[in-house]
Symmetry: C2
Subunit: 319 residues, 2 copies
């Protein structure tokens, strides 16, 4: 099943169920995606019925460019950094000591706003080192404290595609404090369609989104690494997060910037990683961070050859 949120003027928007081709919609069984996630098991029959009707051609025409983020805000956004190749590249490039941890890396980020897929990204200054980070993520229902990774798999209700906007001028110094990122991490953007894991078919494996994430910067191909190379599956990230806290319905867990060992073939999903590769291979970074007016597009092609989550297509502009 596929879900999206229409803009009805309210903060949380209005839930709709979307056809597999993203062309049509039917209203959701409750007003918002947040409410559905809180009550998922009560609405299974209604959801199945709506999905079947959409498969048979029912529904109104969907204006995908006008959608909000699937969850325009959430009670919790926990972003991992689960691609080993990204961490290893950054450590080599910046001559940082390796992070001594066998556990998933994770920080809690801004969750009171997630930007719509076509909204302008308003940031205060080009001097802040504006960067994108292409990620996959999952959205959970209510997860009890102490859940096992195995049991956590059943709490993954939806898969999403995220651009975790980052301001690199603040990133290294905030990381050095040990406290994680505040100034370096403004609001993320989320692709318009959230899908149940079964919509990925064989591309949902071991709690990983095994699809390439295509990134274009001002129309030029920037990278298309595959989500398969996560060191931990999302179910394992979820169990890590839930060791000492329950997770509320609507928690979004991020993969971290998608990155592959064979970066020479697949490219990157953030400028910072490309700059790191340039530092390693050419002695200095060659690629600058973003300028106001730059356009970033991201999409992941699903089993049927179409962008599974819709497309992130945004301009960076001065706030």
């Amino acid at each position: 099943m596929m879900f999206a949120t229409q803009d009805d003027g309210s903060r949380d928007g209005r839930l709709v169920i979307v056809s597999k081709d993203h062309e049509r919609f039917l209203p959701g069984p409750v007003a918002t995606l947040q409410q559905l996630l809180e009550e998922w098991h009560s609405h299974v029959d209604a959801l199945s019925g709506a999905a079947a009707a959409l498969d048979e051609g029912a529904g109104e025409k969907l204006d995908i460019a006008a959608l909000l983020a699937p969850l325009p805000r959430s009670w919790q956004w926990l972003d991992g950094s689960a691609f080993t190749s990204h961490g290893a590249l950054m450590q080599r490039a910046f001559k940082m000591p390796p992070i001594e941890s066998d556990l998933p890396l994770m920080y809690q980020g801004l969750s009171h706003t997630f930007l719509s897929a076509c909204a302008d990204v308003r940031l205060p200054s080009e001097a802040h080192g504006i960067d994108f980070e292409g990620e996959f993520g999952v959205i959970t229902d209510d997860v009890p404290m102490g859940v096992t990774a195995e049991a956590a798999m059943d709490h993954i209700r939806l898969v999403v595609q995220i651009n975790d906007w980052s301001l690199r001028t603040f990133a290294a110094s905030e990381m050095k404090t040990g406290f994680g990122w505040i100034q370096a991490k403004p609001a993320c953007s989320v692709a318009p369609v959230a899908v149940t894991p079964d919509e990925l078919g064989a591309a949902w494996r071991k709690g990983r989104v095994c699809l390439p994430l295509h990134v274009h910067w001002n129309g030029e191909d920037f990278g298309r690494p595959n989500g398969s190379e996560m060191a931990f599956g999302f179910h394992e990230l979820l169990a890590h997060a839930a060791l000492t806290r329950s997770l509320p319905a609507g928690t979004i867990i991020g993969s971290g910037t998608v990155s592959n060992d064979d970066y020479a073939t697949h490219g990157s999903t953030c400028v910072s990683e490309r700059r790191g590769i340039e530092m390693i291979e050419q002695g200095a970074p060659k690629t600058d961070f973003l300028r106001f007016g730059d356009r970033i597009q991201m999409e992941a092609v699903g089993p049927d050859g179409q962008p599974l989550f819709g497309t992130l297509d945004q301009l960076v502009v001065q706030a």
Copy 2:
């Protein structure tokens, strides 16, 4: 003015306005404290009227022990570490290099649940190094990105008193990753009454809560350091947080564990700091972390000699 939230079975509870002696209440002008913070300026007259009526003896009897946290959940909890003496003690004790930053230290923490002042604190294991952290905090209305510290002062609507429960077994290793704390920081508790800054009288100075925070552990006096020694005022913490993000109404900003240079006289508000002092003065920590069944009480005596925010009085129990 003073506010509290009664338990009416809903997730966000029901807003009440509280008399200065915490004995009586009148219903709030809107259903929840969150809503009031979003619409503050629309309700100034109604609030003044209710406060005057309470001053004249109106209102029903308040059951302070049955109150929820003023905000039972919030869209954002940003916790500082603004007491220089605490950081300096920890660095000396653990032989850590000083944190190289002239800026406020701050992480984003769990905000989907704040525990009630008398609720049991359910944690999974004594082996996790269970600790308390006595803090003051402020709650904001909507704050625009880029706000100055001076302008930020006017966005501080309420002052609160917080116990930032911490699990020290995870704290150092999570800090070393640079990503901040997930497993080390379960839900905080908040004292039942949130007050406008003017209720502090002369104890609200330079954006600081200049009151001693009294901590008792199993009935024994543990410490009563004063909130005055913050290296940054709350308005400065707020401007730091808002450099690259807007802050939604209901954002809670924490001071970090209250700590004074003269710790020999005033004691500490967390076990970790006491253990650090023992390491420095006696070569090894002598005080163990908490056990299930332990009771922690915290209160700050206001200008009239009564606990200004009510009292946090909780037992730590096995989840």
